[in-house]
């Protein structure tokens, strides 16, 4: 029985998820190994190899901390932006908008499902709250 699903198969899990674009995968792995080398190996060993022009090691920790804090603030910022951009209670946008105003009225056909349209709020209210409670 041949499984053609893209989900990780048991024998493939050792190697990680099969990549769709090997270029991105390999370059990101290479970048990560390079970052680890730069962060952990002391300056003197790198200098003895002849690689002298590196940024200060301070940035190895600082950049990761900056990145993590950006993610945390991003969560809070997104929540705040969502709340700020919801319309106030007295805005006309809670009731209707340009699409609803300019919608076409289709003719009613017998025995057919009625066409989809935006029903005015007065009718909706009458149906919900006035009809037999």
């Amino acid at each position: 029985m041949v499984e053609n699903s893209p989900s990780p198969l048991p024998e493939r899990e050792v190697y990680g998820f099969p990549p769709r674009r090997p270029v991105f995968f390999l370059s990101s792995q290479f970048g990560f190994i390079l970052y680890l080398v730069w962060a952990f190996i002391p300056e003197s060993w790198l200098n003895s190899l002849g690689l002298t022009y590196w940024p200060q090691k301070y940035w190895a920790v600082a950049l990761s901390v900056y990145f993590l804090i950006t993610i945390v603030i991003g969560y809070l910022l997104l929540f705040g932006i969502n709340i700020m951009s919801s319309s106030p209670l007295n805005s006309i946008h809670t009731i209707t908008d340009n699409y609803a105003k300019n919608q076409q009225q289709k003719k009613y056909q017998e025995e057919a499902i009625p066409a989809l349209r935006d029903i005015p709020i007065s009718e909706v209210n009458q149906m919900f709250f006035l009809a037999t409670k």
Binding site: I83, S87, L89, T94, T96, P120, I121
Partner: protein, 188 residues
């Protein structure tokens, strides 16, 4: 004829709705908000004074303590006069219009009147408020340009914020009056 029932607002506080039927064409709804509780007042006063005392121990300047007392007093007066609404009233008169009155805890009253010619309908709308979705009653005003358009939305009971059961009661009474008004205005 008067009628009083108790409901709750969106935060769970208790509201009292008083309905007065003056005549078939004139009705009044009065929503009373819960009063300023002693517990919250003492909590706020204690926090402000503790913070001021903390600052005083840092700065050794006794002006901070008297400033804190002044700020608490002025803040309380300002809150009672500008923010804390005691009662909200909606008065509908068939051929005349709709009047909304808010009375503050210090006795101040602010009134808004909308004449019946401008009123298109009174509906219960749902909208996002902070992190909740709430039902609120609002008056839709007619657009002079378009016959079926809406020019403005005026929410009522903004500080009491009752829940749907209370809103349905008010909505049904308003719709009776509006239907009565349309019937009498349609017939010559």
């Amino acid at each position: 004829m008067e009628d009083e029932r108790s409901f709750s607002d969106i935060c769970g506080g208790r509201l009292a709705l008083q309905r007065r039927y003056y005549s078939p064409s004139c009705r009044e709804f009065c929503l009373s908000c819960p009063r300023l509780s002693l517990r919250s007042l003492t909590a706020v006063t204690c926090t402000v004074w503790l913070a001021a005392y903390g600052l005083f121990t840092l700065c050794e300047n006794s002006m901070i303590l008297s400033a804190a007392i002044f700020i608490t007093l002025l803040g309380l007066l300002g809150y009672l006069h500008f923010v804390k609404i005691d009662q909200e009233t909606l008065l509908i008169i068939d051929s005349l219009g709709i009047q909304m009155t808010s009375s503050y805890a210090s006795g101040k009253e602010s009134t808004t009147f909308i004449e019946m010619g401008k009123v298109k309908d009174v509906v219960i709308n749902e909208a996002i408020y902070m992190q909740k979705v709430i039902y609120y009653l609002c008056i839709l005003l007619k657009d002079p340009m378009e016959p079926h358009g809406i020019s403005q939305v005026v929410p009522v009971f903004q500080s009491a914020k009752p829940r749907l059961d209370c809103l349905i009661e008010v909505y049904r009474s308003c719709q009776e009056i509006l239907a009565h008004q349309k019937a009498t205005s349609a017939s010559p």
